[in-house]
Amino acid sequence: MEQDRTIFDKDTFLDLTVNMIPLFILAFFFVLFLPMVYGPFGWDGTYSLLQIGLILVPFGLLAILTYFSAVAIEGDANETEAREAAEEAAEPETEVDADDSATDEADTVETPTTSEETDAADDEA
């Protein structure tokens, strides 16, 4: 895999804000439910651990999946870029048309201001 460009650049992080909001909400409730912080319920060996586990497990799984999908998507994007650059250098015209149709959605470039969008989505919920 072409690794000359880093995967987790600024743009990728902006794309990932969308999954960081649920992670943040989960973290918020995790802290809120801790007996030493707010903890509205009494401590019980079984149920309190279950309670914490039920928040931490989805948190962990979501974080892991987000990481690996970002690696897959951005890794392939870097590869595509490298290949297209190479093709363009080799013969400027031929491949461009065939590729267009497939990329029309995927190559959306996020602008640095997208964090406002996700903030607003947070409000909606």
Binding site: N19, P22, L50, I52, I73, G75, D104, T114
Partner: protein, 610 residues
């Protein structure tokens, strides 16, 4: 009659059956499906491309096909039949609910061999739920994914074409078993269609007789429920096989220039959906087997002094909640795919939608007990499920936000698919917001088991999922049939569906506020709410249901007639090129058209129908 006479009869019968088979194989009326003007004649029709060079003609074509496009069509036809069954069931139920007492179902129950009107209502309720979720919802989405995913990812076919065919052919026997009780009930007093509701909670699902009471011995149990459980198991196996196939296909069969970064949004949602199916349907299968064992072999998995009835609810909803997202993710994919095409632009925030799809996939496994807030589980556990339920609202809200922003900066063409997309967004906002309130424990405790819940999830299932399905059906109708549907009928279908949906389910949400409990055939004995007002709302909901019925009949007529006689379309029926929003499946369509024309296909058709 002596032995030789029987042999002669058998031989004659064999000859006769052979003749029937030959007739079916050759009969021209089994319209050999040719997506475009493909050449087809005699017993073998030729189809261009994709390694399906030869297919038998007539009905054998459909019985033996392993072509993903054919199987997609089979899924579609099957799902429409199931949609009709579920729809007729609910029309009978809504007619019953016009008046507070029991009347319509009482009359029907004698004709259908069910012991009482209430029992028939419960049976219809069960059948409506199971049919719409497992026999319509999942298969109609499989219809889209089978037809489109290989085209969109530039694959020759599915990774396992034969498993694909097997997965489909498990569904018809599944449906026969699930509906079996209705077919057998007129002939046996001890067998009725299952009345266990779609959730099949024990102890009822384990102990119910055909008369609705509790059975004292295993022999008294209503065998209709056993049939339904077995049928459901088949459909579960089918869905799992399909899911494995899609995962393998999307991982291994992508074309050389379709990297993960270029995978279209619909395939992303199908990939996530398949993963959800893979992890959740085995749970359903196990729970069903345990129910069957409890029923027939006196095991105690779910008895009160055995594993307990709450154990079943945990197992069921660990499947049941992901099932919600199994049903809604691909429709979201269809909307994300179709809506930008008629906004004349690409989707705003494509990667946001991808990542939020994956987030929904993971989080959907962490919210199951929000269906069980009122069962008395520990408040600490409830609180955690509430937290995750609130978190999962974000990815859906982000998608909605992206669709609206896409439209905001777009130039919109109000074609029928686009109307359904816009309807989806509107209804999904109502369905989603009413759902967020239910995720809050105190609100849920008040509204649990009322029509509010019914209204909420129907806004999502009918108002959103079915709308996306219709958007997809209209958008890809020319791709599959090579013809255009009738626009006026399609517009009528949209507006009637929109009005009917909102009338029916808006009234249900209000009824929930009034305290009307769900699942009852009558409401003359309820102790909550102003009865006059509740009856008015029931009548409104029924009127809405009939409007929906009329709309779907119009739709069916439009589809069938347009498939037979609609005008042929050109290579780019939606003028996508004008906006630069072409996509791979229409390129394939263009190729097919050109191949067919150079082959000298059925030119006469193209002229007469245009």
């Amino acid at each position: 009659m002596d032995i030789s006479g029987q042999i002669v009869l058998t031989a004659l019968m064999a000859v006769f059956l052979f003749g029937v088979v030959l007739f079916l194989a050759r009969a021209a009326d089994w319209r050999t499906y040719t997506p475009l003007a493909g050449a087809g004649s005699g017993i073998v029709s030729r189809e261009g491309g994709y390694g399906h060079a030869e297919k038998p003609a007539g009905i054998f074509r459909w019985l033996t096909t392993v072509d993903h496009k054919d199987i997609g069509i089979l899924y579609g036809v099957y799902a429409v039949l199931a949609f009709a069954w579920g729809g007729i069931a609910v029309i009978i139920m809504r007619t019953e609910l016009i008046t507070p007492g029991i009347d319509v179902t009482e009359t029907l129950s004698t004709a259908m061999g069910v012991s009482s009107g209430q029992n028939l209502y419960n049976a219809l309720l069960t059948s409506h739920g199971i049919t719409m979720l497992f026999l319509f919802g999942t298969p109609i989405l499989a219809a889209f994914s089978n037809y489109l995913v290989p085209l969109l990812i530039d694959a020759d076919d599915m990774a396992f074409p034969r498993i694909n065919a097997i997965a489909f052919w498990m569904l018809p026997p599944g449906a026969v078993l699930i509906w079996g009780g209705f077919f057998i009930a007129p002939f046996f007093d001890s067998i009725a269609p299952s009345m266990a509701s779609w959730t099949m909670y024990p102890p009822q699902s384990v102990s119910q007789t055909a008369q609705g009471g509790a059975a004292s011995t295993i022999a008294d149990l209503n065998a209709g429920t056993d049939l339904m459980l077995l049928g459901l198991h088949l459909t579960g196996v089918s869905a799992t096989m399909g899911a494995i196939n899609f995962i393998a296909t999307i991982f291994t069969e992508r074309g050389p220039d379709v990297g993960w970064d270029k995978l279209d949004i619909f395939s992303w949602t199908i990939l996530t959906q398949s993963a959800l199916i893979l992890f959740s349907f085995p749970l359903l299968g196990s729970a069903l087997v345990m129910l069957l064992l409890d029923r027939n072999f006196a095991t105690t998995f779910f008895t009160a002094d055995g594993g307990g009835t709450i154990l079943y609810q945990h197992l069921f909803w660990f499947f049941g909640h992901p099932e919600v997202y199994i049903l809604v993710l691909p429709p979201m994919g269809i909307i994300s795919y179709v809506l930008p095409r008629f906004s004349g632009r690409k989707l705003f925030g494509f990667k946001f939608v991808v990542y939020s799809t994956l987030a929904i996939g993971v989080l959907s496994f962490g919210v199951w007990a929000h269906h069980m807030f009122s069962t008395g589980i520990d408040p600490r556990i409830r609180a955690s499920f509430m937290a995750v339920s609130l978190a999962i609202a974000i990815p859906s809200a982000v998608k909605t936000f992206n669709w609206i922003t896409t439209m905001w900066n777009g130039k919109i063409r109000l074609t029928t698919p686009m109307l359904f997309c816009i309807g989806f967004v509107g209804n999904f906002i109502i369905g989603g917001v009413t759902g967020v309130f239910l995720a809050s424990i105190p609100v849920d405790l008040i509204l649990h088991d009322t029509y509010y819940v019914v209204g909420h999830f129907h806004y999502v299932i009918m108002g959103a999922i079915a709308f996306a399905v219709f958007a997809g059906v209209y958008y890809w109708f020319p791709l599959v049939t090579g013809r255009m549907y009738q626009v006026t009928l399609a517009k009528a279908h949209f507006w009637l569906t929109m009005v009917g949906t909102n009338l029916t389910f808006f009234a249900m949400i209000l009824m929930g506020y009034a305290g009307m409990p769900r699942r009852y055939a009558t409401y003359n004995l309820i102790t909550v709410g102003p009865i006059d007002f509740i009856q008015l709302l029931h009548v409104l909901a029924t009127v809405g249901a009939f409007i929906l019925l009329v709309a779907q009949i119009i739709w069916l007529w439009n589809m069938v007639q347009s498939y037979l006689e609609g005008p042929r379309v050109g290579p780019d029926p939606w003028n996508l090129e004008e906006d630069g929003v072409e996509s791979r499946e229409w390129d394939w369509f263009d190729d097919r058209l050109e191949t067919a024309l150079t082959d000298g296909g059925e030119a006469e058709d193209a002229e007469t129908d245009a």
